[in-house]
Symmetry: C2
Subunit: 138 residues, 2 copies
């Protein structure tokens, strides 16, 4: 992991955020979207490549994720070069993500913006996209 | 524009960030990447759909953007529903983006994470992706 600021409290925040994100991904890969829903702020905004526009609010995200409950399966995944920048009340985690299921491998870009809600941190903005989707090779 | 917090200082920050982003986009659409490079933090990290992985640091982003100098042209664009969440030293701007050039229309998702560097704000994380790229319709 890389840290822009190495103060010990920031490092602790960064490690907590990566651990929290990883736990949510483990549940996601087992078909359970609640790991993410439980750590989203009520005012979360959300992008992924399957949506026509940004989703606004936990209620909208919950509706979308509940349609996927039990339908997602990931054999293994890796957060590649997770990086956290901590700035007071907010922090941003970014990483490349590789997920494997059977013979399928998906490669993603991910940005997660967290906000302090002591004692934990809640996601206020999520952005998932595919690495070089069809038609986007430079 | 939507604001999660409506404190007057936060609203001023939100308006300043949207104005700064818009100015950078105007320059971008005229082939000039310096509008963005001038408002990026030295430790900026960056995703777009043309890259194989996250870019780390202003030097890497500058190299990538300089190859595009003079090659981008946008007739008109719209930031759709820009939303800013301000949390102390950091703020996140997210929006859908529609750009038109001739008969071509591109639709994007964008997340920009800014960090205070008084008197202005600098981008620490950028994430551009296509709305529903080929193969991603649910």
């Amino acid at each position: 992991m890389q840290y822009t600021r190495l103060g010990s409290s920031d490092q602790a925040v960064a490690e907590a955020i990566v651990a929290q994100e990883t736990q949510a991904l483990v549940r996601w890969g087992a078909g359970d979207p609640s790991g993410f829903l439980d750590i989203c702020h009520p005012d979360v905004t959300y992008f992924d490549p399957f949506l026509e526009e940004r989703l606004d609010g936990l209620s909208a995200l919950t509706s979308t994720y509940e349609r996927l409950r039990g339908k997602i399966h990931i054999d293994s995944f890796e957060l590649v070069n997770p990086r956290v920048v901590v700035g007071g009340e907010m922090a941003v985690l970014s990483f490349n993500f590789v997920s494997k299921d059977g013979n399928d491998t998906l490669r993603w870009n991910c940005t997660e913006v967290y906000r302090s809600a002591a004692p934990r941190w809640l996601i206020v903005q999520t952005h998932w996209s595919f690495v070089q989707p069809a038609g986007a090779t430079a």
